[in-house]
């Protein structure tokens, strides 16, 4: 190849009411072609009703190496879950 063709991440909404889900990636020179290529590559069997393409370089990811520290603040807050609380017998609609 004469020049590097940008990489795009592809997200497909399978059906109305569902969220877009990452399905894979592809190369394309611009967003419009990325969208067309994504249609041809990832929805050949009606797998989607909507597609997003995002330049791969535009995605900032947390690193798995930081996983513990990064997500630590949520680990000791069990009281954020309803199951943490004791409900006295006989209480309805709670």
């Amino acid at each position: 190849m004469t020049q590097h063709t940008p990489l795009w991440e592809v997200f497909v909404r399978a059906r109305r009411g569902l969220s877009h889900t990452h399905v894979g990636s592809l190369h394309a020179p611009d967003a419009e072609l990325a969208l067309r290529n994504a249609r041809d590559l990832y929805t050949r069997r009606q797998e989607g009703v909507s597609i997003w393409v995002v330049p791969a370089g535009a995605i900032t990811a947390s690193s798995p190496d930081e996983k513990d520290a990064f997500f630590d603040p949520a680990a000791d807050k069990v009281y954020r879950h309803p199951t943490f609380y004791e409900v006295p017998d006989g209480v309805a609609h709670l």
């Binding site: 190849m1 592809l26 050949r44 996983k67």
Partner: protein, 358 residues
């Protein structure tokens, strides 16, 4: 997630998934179950990374692109996924050869869709390989330079229309037997790509079987054509599973890493056992005089393919190696102007946007 939500178009429900397609679904369910089980976060700051990696793999969890992994694991995966991608791309040629000569419009439309699928499979796999830190350009160049291989099967010629049927039934059938366990590979992006590939591959095998079934129940000339195709494709299909276990160089380590789940010989046996009954229904003969049921082993005894021939084909001396590579290089070169024009157009459009913004 790849491969979820294949909404069958209006009411077209398949029969209860059993056999290989059922296994693909089982692998997909397993992948989701493993994800649901979760695991503790990344390795502790002072933890041995190799031990951590082994623990994740042993727990049937997936390794993801940004996880630490041994260099050899990365190299093995890049080689295997790239080789797999190249096979899909080169694999378009033998069948593409028959698109313009398909016997009916229906068969032509089906064959076009199938060849387009092969291109798609190549692209899913290239994308999976790229998550390991190698670029598409490098992968394409490795194929064009002959520094990475593709499956030996595509170096055999397609001499008649029945060959399209035999490829679907035997070659895609063997590929599915090989690939279904890869849906459970320890590397996440590869496993997910394989689930998608395997689901699509099942249509390929069935369309091939249907072609052969039609021919085998046609005129004597059509029957002879179908039999001739099976005669020529049987042993090369058996050879697709690679050298016998004793001579397989990469197997043991790949099994330990859970990239590979079954040995070459186990998969080959499974394929033979599947094909015997399918051949009976076709009314075609598998070209092996020593093929018989072994009650003790509960499996068929069969004649091994010619592994010297396999080695010859792998090292470039098959009937069509040069033709396939020449065609791929020419196609890549012929596409240069398209890639350049698309890039120039993208640059021009980006320039216009900047001007408007300013």
């Amino acid at each position: 997630m790849y491969g979820n939500d294949f909404s069958a178009p209006d009411g077209a429900t398949d029969e209860a998934p059993g056999g290989l397609l059922g296994e693909v679904e089982a692998a997909e369910a397993e992948l989701r179950a493993a994800a649901a089980r979760g695991r503790r976060g990344g390795p502790a700051p002072d933890e041995d990374l190799a031990a951590y990696f082994a623990e994740v793999v042993d727990a049937e969890q997936k390794i993801e692109p940004r996880d630490w992994m041994p260099d050899a694991y990365r190299r093995t995966l890049i080689r295997q996924i790239a080789q797999h991608a190249h096979s899909e791309i080169i694999g378009m040629q033998p069948e593409g050869n028959w698109i313009s000569r398909a016997p009916s419009l229906k068969r032509k439309a089906i064959l076009l869709a199938k060849v387009q699928d092969e291109a798609g499979h190549g692209l899913y796999l290239y994308a999976a390989a790229e998550t390991l830190g190698i670029s598409r350009d490098e992968l394409v160049q490795l194929l064009l330079d002959g520094r990475q291989k593709y499956s030996s099967i595509f170096n055999y010629p397609t001499l008649s229309w029945a060959d399209v049927g035999a490829i679907g039934w035997l070659v895609d059938g063997a590929a599915i037997v090989n690939q279904v366990p890869l849906c459970r590979c320890s590397y996440g992006p590869y496993a997910r790509a394989m689930i998608r590939v395997c689901k699509e591959e099942s249509f390929h095998q069935r369309q091939g079987y249907e072609i052969l079934h039609t021919l085998a129940h046609g005129t004597p000339a059509q029957q002879a054509m179908a039999q001739d195709a099976v005669d020529r494709w049987w042993y090369p299909s058996l050879a697709m599973f690679g050298p016998p276990d004793g001579d397989s160089t990469h197997s043991a380590q790949s099994m330990a890493w859970k990239i590979k789940r079954f040995s070459n010989d186990d998969l080959r046996q499974r394929f033979v056992d599947m094909c015997v009954q399918q051949a009976e229904i076709l009314g075609l003969r598998i070209p092996d005089a020593d093929l018989r049921w072994n009650d003790e082993r509960q499996a068929y005894d069969y004649t091994q393919p010619d592994y010297d021939e396999l080695m010859q084909v792998i090292s470039g001396n098959g009937p069509c190696n040069r033709e396939r590579m020449a065609h791929r290089r020419a196609a890549h070169a012929d596409g240069t102007w398209v890639r350049e024009a698309a890039a120039a157009y993208a640059a021009k459009r980006a320039g216009q946007k900047e001007t408007v913004a300013a």
